[in-house]
Amino acid sequence: MRKITVINQKGGTGKTTTAVNLGAALSETGREVLLVDLDPQAGLTESLGVETSGSPTVAEVLTGEAEPREAFHALPHLTVLPSTPVLAETEKRILRERPSEYPLALKDALAGMRGFDFVIVDCPPSLGALSLMGMVYSGSLLIPLQTQYMALNGLEKILGMVKTIREAGFPMEILGILPCMYDVRTSLSRQVEEHLRETLRHKVFRTVIRQSISLAEAPARSKDVLSYQPGGRGAEDYRALAQEVLRHG
């Protein structure tokens, strides 16, 4: 079972879009995929139209009040462990109750889980406790990055955190940095992408996620982009990313 955590403390970089559509593209190749929404804003949950009222979510799984299987929502091609805003309170509670062990909360909660080829975790836009749980759970990070100057500052912070976590004894690899919202018409996008590859070399995915209206429209229809517009640019880019991830092993 391959675990991947999608992380960037900056909002609007394409984390949720990447988690959903990479999951869908991997599923299209016949893999069993679980998507874990670790964001109290529940963007992933909502973008796939998962209804959580009355049923357990990732919050209850983290506290041990529900088994993971009880909280899973099976969609035609994906399984979702959903989130709700309650998760923000749960985060505080876990910090209070397990002050020295909280980074292991998700790892412990999902220990022994079987039946999936890929588990993709979508983190909140922060480097707080929930993100740390997500990072420690998988030990493998996919960092979506807007091809803009400010995004580079954020990337340095994430890399600093990765170093700190590694030094604390948790295995941690950077699966890759994914240039997102790439606008071929701007020289800034081209420069950032070019220099990213020159500087960070094999740590940058070959795939670039181009700006595409279908990526923005799909969540409004509660769909991933491969279901919404199978022949579109967004679907094409995420299929290419899935192939890269599969080649990575």
Partner: protein, 77 residues
């Protein structure tokens, strides 16, 4: 020329450095997996070994001469 005008070169150098440290490919003074105190502890024994050898050689000469000399001076004065 236009290539590097939008984002300064230092920014890329900082990122390269940060990535090497994050990936563990850059040799830093810290031992991976251990907290900061290990850095000081790791450095001390090396310094200590060298100093001790020097001290042992130096102590025989220095202690004998200086020790006796100082006491005599103090005692007489």
């Amino acid at each position: 020329m236009g290539k590097k005008t939008l984002i300064p070169e230092e920014k890329w150098e900082g990122l390269r450095h940060a990535m090497e440290e994050a990936a563990g490919t850059r040799k830093t003074s810290k031992t991976p997996g251990l907290p900061a105190p290990a850095e000081g502890e790791a450095a001390r024994p090396e310094r200590g070994k060298k100093d001790k050898k020097k001290d042992k050689k130096g102590k025989k000469k220095k202690k004998g001469k200086k020790g006796k000399g100082k006491k005599k001076k103090k005692g007489k004065g």
